[in-house]
């Protein structure tokens, strides 16, 4: 199945000024994308400037302040060990977003070459690879990650590795679609006839056309990865204490929900905002990069 996300604006490796500025203009006028982008930038700021922004040390607890309600001293309250919830949320961005980025990066590093190669080779190689993708695509990555964690133990590293591998089909499929279409294009045929090396064809024709679909899929995959990582940490299978993490905090918050609901609410809302940001950005980018889909 072809990806069909090709517009005149996305074709051709060279980025002429008009293409880029047209893209920016379209982006700016898409409110979804702008809000999403705003949230993403906000999260990135939290990651980079955490030490400056966090009012307290996220790992230092003042026991007598256990489960303190939100106040001037503890803006979002304190957890069971007397640690500042706001600071822990800020530092938690690093594990959440960092983990999600690693997942998507791994899936791309493996998936992009794999997709191109499979489509390019064609024949039975392509058949086998597509079959494997079909198998993995159907099954929710989270459930297979369970098996990995059961085998190798709970840790952020194991979670990221297993999710990274399991997300490969999402990217690879799209890339494969693009490659298949490009293969049939006249100028590819021409290039091959003229004896251009494969690598040149790939780099000049195929890869550039992959950029926009990969960007869209990556943004959405980041949203899914954030959710999956949060879910695994919530179940106690991911990030281990005392490292601050939104999923962990949500789980702890649930145990004290009756007496100190602020912890669970803060952690949950944080996850919501982050995932929303990437969903909006991904949606917006898809609108911008594929006007066909945008006419909804």
């Amino acid at each position: 199945m072809a990806a069909e996300i090709l517009t005149p604006g996305a074709v051709a490796g060279a980025t002429t000024p008009s293409t880029w500025s047209m893209f920016l203009w379209r982006l700016r006028s898409n409110s979804k994308a702008m809000i999403g982008l705003g949230i993403v930038i906000f999260l990135l700021i939290l990651i980079v400037f955490a030490p400056l922004l966090a009012p307290k040390d996220p790992n230092f607890g003042v026991l007598p302040d256990t489960l303190a309600s939100p106040s001037r001293d503890y803006l979002l309250g304190a957890d069971k060990n007397g640690r500042d919830v706001l600071s822990r949320l800020i530092y938690g961005t690093r594990t959440a977003l960092g983990g999600a980025l690693m997942v998507v990066l791994i899936s791309e590093l493996i998936g992009v070459p794999l997709g191109i190669w499979a489509a390019y080779k064609g024949g039975w190689v392509d058949e086998v690879v597509t079959r494997i993708f079909d198998m993995l695509l159907a099954f929710p990555p989270l459930l297979l990650s369970f098996a990995v964690v059961a085998a190798f133990g709970p840790s952020l590293r194991n979670v990221v590795l297993s999710l990274g591998i399991l997300y490969v089909p999402f990217i690879a499929r799209v890339v494969r679609g693009v490659t298949l279409v490009q293969k049939e294009m006249v100028y590819t045929e021409a290039a091959r006839a003229m004896g251009y090396p494969q690598s040149r064809i790939i780099f000049r024709h195929i890869l550039p056309n992959c950029i926009s679909p990969v960007i869209v899929v990556s943004s959405l995959d980041l949203a899914y990865a954030l959710l999956d990582i949060a879910a695994l940490s919530y179940l106690g299978l991911g990030v281990q204490p005392p490292t601050p993490d939104w999923g962990n905090m949500l789980a702890e918050g649930q145990t004290v929900l009756l007496t100190a609901p602020h912890i669970a609410i803060a952690a949950g809302v944080m996850i919501l905002i982050a995932v929303l940001g990437f969903n909006l950005l991904g949606d917006g980018l898809r609108d911008v990069l594929d006007p066909r889909q945008a006419k909804r």
Binding site: M1, P242, T255
Partner: protein
């Protein structure tokens, strides 16, 4: 599948379909059939469980008592009944030759009379006419078979060691069982009051030689009906119970409710009649409930952290001293433990147990400067890294672990927290597969101070048993062995107190607290008060509404 994919796939299929539509007529009937089928299928999915067997439609009523358990059971076999969750269930089904009352005094139960002519001979005269739930009579053969089951390798009972000292078990007269020991023991008298002394029919035991039974039969006030793993255990009244007029309730349901807040909520709504395990931060709420009475008692209990004494760095007493003094015990007690326990005073034996040395000992001081000095004088002057293993299910313990981690960082000791599920932590303790520090909870098997010492500090009690710190002090060994063989109480206590002083000086473990046991019971019910050894008790035998 991502939404993106879904969108694209629908696009393709949609287009194809719409093209097809122009060429062919689609009958309206077909569509209705289809949507009806779809709706019907979902309705069916929702309805199927209602007609599936095992779903009871019985509502809650006054003749049913519902208890809330904090986790699923490991099993329902008495020979394996050695934990705080399974035992309250098992002890209503099977009974032992002896029993303990709420003041931990022993009295005969299935035995009618009990004689202890000398320190090594125990004679039990069984009650006549007591029947098992299956209608058969209780005989000495059943009692002997039950004891042998605890000792059998296949069953691997954690109480097998209680019979290590036994020389012979025999039926010495009709309905009379005599047990002879190799050497005198002050604690053996209590064994038949534990689940190790519970009696099941020989026929049932013979039918399940290698695996624990999933359907126990006993003489208790309640019969086993079924265990829906992960959900609940159901018991029903034994109409032919040998203590006439008991029990009161027709049905007993033990619901498995792992979330503490939910258990408390269940008390409020009346869904739960009795709850034992209440999270520390909700004690106040439960105390404030008008519809609930909250009982509490300090357990024969100890919560501590083992340090591995037979390997670096904790083989050096200065290191142990440093770590012990760097912990702010008051802060932990006030803010985390709160009202659920009392601080241990350098002993695992609470002051409520006769033979405790706590009156003569001093608590470990919180003194960061002294801690740093001790560390500087030790084999690790520059600090070191270590691990602390803790149960993942317990919010309180995890919080304690993190607090300790923070406190030890101050003196240069870097602690990595290893959070694992409780069964795994217990397995790790049994196999000795841990390093550094590990949490441990202990409740005495017997109302005897030695029960808090011998299993934890005798050199032969190392893993797979419970001397998790690998403490080895021959002088202490001699005192503990001597105490067990000492039938004279004063002499025994003297030896135990001496042993506790030696242990306190060696600081092999970090003493935390003696935790309390709580029991929240619906207002208006009486007949049972929780005692320190509740895990050998039947809650429900005497439980009934209090006459006004």
């Amino acid at each position: 599948m991502t939404e993106n994919e879904a969108g694209q796939q629908f696009d393709a299929r949609m287009r194809e379909y719409l093209q097809g539509l122009r060429e062919q007529a689609m009958s309206r009937r077909g569509l209705f059939k289809l949507s009806a089928a779809a709706v019907g299928a979902t309705a069916l999915a929702g309805a199927v469980p209602y007609v599936m067997p095992g779903v009871s439609v019985l509502a809650q009523d006054d003749t049913t008592v519902t208890l809330g358990l904090e986790s699923d059971l490991r099993g329902v076999e008495p020979a394996l009944g050695y934990d705080f969750t399974a035992n309250p269930v098992i002890c209503n089904i099977t009974e032992g030759l002896m029993a303990l009352d709420k003041d931990s005094k022993i009295y005969p139960l299935l035995a009618e009379t009990f004689e202890n002519p000398d320190a090594q001979t125990f004679i039990y005269n069984l009650r006549a006419g007591v029947k098992f739930h299956d209608g058969t009579d209780v005989t000495v053969a059943d009692a002997i078979a039950s004891i042998e089951r605890v000792r059998s390798e296949a069953i691997a009972s954690p109480m097998a060691w209680m019979f290590d000292n036994v020389e012979s078990i025999a039926e010495t007269a009709p309905m009379q069982l005599t047990i002879k020991l190799k050497i005198p023991s002050a604690s053996f008298t209590y064994v038949m009051a534990t689940t190790a002394g519970h009696v099941m029919p020989k026929s049932l035991i013979d039918a399940n030689p290698d695996l624990p039974t999933q359907e126990p039969i006993g003489t208790g006030p309640y019969k086993f009906v079924k265990w829906e793993a992960g959900s609940q255990v159901e018991l029903e009244k034994n109409e032919a119970y040998w203590q006439t007029g008991k029990p009161y309730f027709q049905k007993a349901i033990f619901k498995i409710v792992p979330d503490g807040t939910t258990r408390v909520a269940g008390l409020k709504t009346g869904d739960l009649t009795i709850v034992r395990d209440i999270p520390a931060d909700q004690l106040e709420i439960v105390r404030g409930m008008a519809e609930i009475t909250l009982q509490e008692v300090i357990g024969f209990s100890s919560n501590q952290i083992f340090m591995v004494n037979n390997a670096a760095p904790f083989d050096d007493i200065n290191v142990r001293k440093a770590v012990s003094m760097a912990i702010n015990y008051d802060e932990i007690m006030t803010n985390l433990v709160k009202d659920t326990g009392v601080r241990s005073i350098s002993s695992t034996v609470p002051s409520t147990m006769p033979g405790s040395a706590e009156a003569e000992l001093t608590p470990v001081p919180y003194d960061v400067e002294a801690a740093k000095a001790a560390l500087a004088a030790s084999s690790q002057p520059n600090g070191f890294k270590t691990t602390l293993t803790v149960d993942s299910e317990s919010g309180q313990r995890v919080a304690e672990a993190q607090a300790i981690q923070q406190m030890l960082a101050v003196i240069g000791v870097e602690v990595e927290i290893n959070k694992i599920p409780q069964p795994d932590r217990i397995t790790a303790l049994q196999t000795g597969d841990y390093e550094g520090m590990i949490f441990h909870e202990w409740g005495a098997d017997f109302p005897d101070a030695n029960g808090m010492l011998l299993p934890l500090f005798h050199s032969r009690s190392v893993p797979p048993q419970n001397n998790g710190s690998f403490y080895n002090n021959p002088a202490v060994d001699a005192l503990l062995d001597g105490a067990d063989a000492e039938v004279d109480e004063t002499a025994r206590f003297a030896k135990l107190i001496e042993a506790q002083k030696l242990i306190a000086a060696d600081m092999p473990i970090i003493w935390l607290d003696h935790f309390k046991w709580f029991l929240a019971v619906k207002q208006g019910l009486g007949g049972y008060s929780i005692g320190p050894l509740f895990y050998w008790d039947s809650f429900l035998r005497d439980l009934a509404p209090v006459q006004a």
